[in-house]
């Protein structure tokens, strides 16, 4: 069952990043940590919703036909063979965000994370192909494809659901953000407009 746990961990991380990406370039805020966390959680919630039917079918299938567990495990192992190296590279690049030099963050974003986003659908589909090849089972392959489609749907769905509109957040969010001024920017005052 380590396969299921590892695939779930990858799905959790992927969905959080997908939610995060869908929120970027929409609010225009400088201090957006709160919004980022919210976007991560939204991605996670959407992916749970989308992946639940896939997981349910697999669980019911295994419950009814016990020996098929081996087929799912073989499919899962094959998917992990594709996804784990990709995930490792992405996580390594994200580690650059923990170091203080902006140059590392820049290189991680430009050299790894940007191209990684572009490659993600291809890597995801390669995982389905590997699952199909390893399991040689129509249902397991279909479920793998369903899971990958669900993962790929998180970002556009989150964007449509929450981030279709551009502009600073209004109302309650603005009030909260107003109170969360950084401690290193004292004396902030409303901008004076000369227009």
């Amino acid at each position: 069952m380590r396969e299921a746990a590892a695939l779930t961990a990858i799905a959790v991380l992927d969905s959080m990043f997908a939610g995060f990406r869908s929120s970027l370039g929409r609010t225009g805020l400088i201090r957006h940590r709160h919004r980022d966390v919210l976007a991560h959680l939204r991605g996670l919630a959407l992916s749970a919703l989308l992946l639940a039917p896939v997981a349910a079918v697999a669980l019911v299938d295994v419950a009814l036909r016990g020996p098929r567990l081996a087929i799912y495990l073989a499919a899962g192992r094959a998917m992990l063979l594709v996804y784990l190296p990709f995930a490792a590279v992405v996580l390594l690049a994200l580690a650059a965000y923990l170091v203080p030099h902006w140059q590392h963050r820049f290189l991680a974003a430009v050299v790894v994370l940007g191209p990684g986003t572009l490659a993600r659908p291809l890597v995801a589909l390669a995982g389905v192909a590997a699952a199909g090849w390893a399991s040689r089972d129509a249902l397991a392959t279909t479920l793998a494809l369903g899971a990958v489609c669900a993962a790929l749907a998180v970002e556009p769905w989150a964007e449509r659901r929450w981030y279709g509109r551009t502009g600073p957040p209004g109302g309650a969010v603005r009030r909260i953000l107003g109170r969360c001024a950084l401690p290193d920017s004292p004396g902030v005052s409303p901008p004076r407009s000369r227009r």
């Binding site: 225009g28 805020l29 400088i30 140059q103 990684g116 551009t166 600073p168 290193d184 902030v188």
Partner: protein
């Protein structure tokens, strides 16, 4: 937007490629957005072989042969919001802070130093500098843009986070608009230079000399095959608006090389110590994908011997 009507007017023969947003902007002196004719705009793009861009324009909401101004406004905003996100990844504001902070420190005195962002768009750079208090106390951060709608949004965004910076609509080089006492003013810009044809660059630098600014730093993409490839990959990965993708890649393709910028800065702003370096184009230097052309006014009486 600078260059736009000129580009349209020049559109005979085989004109150089132009960004879609260059053709959409533009305000007349009374503050009304200039109408954008669909067919003329699409034809201008097609004339330089930008057929996909022409199709994008033809698909935009229009009435009576003119693009719907509300849709144009909304599109330009979406493009600039995406651009901000992109600039965040490029660490643009940090780069600018690193270059400008020593100048500001040297100018600091009894009166505040002013940092003016020419063509500030949504004011990301100044809002970032304000949010991080990156230049220290007694610094006025003033963003200027010809596009009133962007300026209004920049002000709204600054207000949403209570950031101490302000935004002005107008020509940054018009006297009295932004520079104030030029001797205590540093002018910066980002992603603006490639919108100007090479022939107009000397006038761009001359305008700053006339205002007597203490220093300037104008950031743009270092041109070359690696920048173009990087721009393509990153815009495909990060941008959702087809217009952003088109314009982003074209920006890299038409960015001016350091030699052109240096010649223009020397011609337009004699009396300034200017610098800009690209290095060999074949060498991938991802960290330097953005680089400034800088100028610092030389003290009066300095005699320079040109090599």
């Amino acid at each position: 937007m600078r260059g736009v009507p000129r580009v349209l007017a020049r559109g005979t023969g085989n004109p150089p490629p132009v960004e879609i947003t260059d053709l959409l902007g533009g305000w007349d002196t009374s503050g009304v957005r200039r109408p954008v004719p669909v067919e003329a705009t699409a034809a201008r793009l097609a004339a330089s072989g930008q057929h996909r861009a022409a199709r994008l324009v033809r698909r935009m909401p229009a009435r009576d042969g003119l693009l719907d101004p509300a849709a144009v406004d909304a599109l330009l905003l979406r493009v600039h919001y995406e651009l901000q996100r992109f600039e965040e990844e490029l660490q643009l504001a940090r780069r600018i802070a690193q270059t400008v902070a020593p100048w500001v420190a040297a100018l600091r005195g009894e009166r505040p130093v002013r940092v003016v962002d020419v063509g500030c768009g949504l004011g990301y750079v100044l809002r970032w500098l304000a949010a991080h208090d990156a230049l220290g106390p007694d610094v006025e951060l003033v963003g200027v843009d010809l596009d009133r709608r962007l300026v209004a949004h920049a002000a709204e965004l600054a207000a949403a986070e209570e950031l101490p910076c302000r935004f002005v609509a107008g020509d940054a080089f018009a006297p009295g608009v932004a520079a104030g006492d030029g001797t205590r003013c540093v002018m910066v810009s980002s992603g603006l230079l490639h919108h100007l044809p090479a022939g107009e660059l000397p006038a761009f630098f001359a305008a700053q000399r006339e205002l007597g600014v203490a220093a300037f730093a104008h950031w743009d993409i270092r041109p070359g095959p690696w920048s173009t490839l990087g721009a393509w990959v990153l815009h495909a990965a990060r941008m959702r608006e087809p217009v952003s993708r088109h314009d982003g890649v074209l920006s890299a393709r038409r960015a001016h090389p350091a030699a052109t910028l240096l010649d223009a800065a020397r011609a337009g702003a004699p009396g300034y110590q200017v610098s800009c370096a690209d290095g060999p184009a074949w060498l991938p230097r991802p960290l330097d994908v953005l680089r400034p052309v800088t100028g610092v006014r030389e003290p009066a009486g300095t005699v320079r011997v040109r090599p």
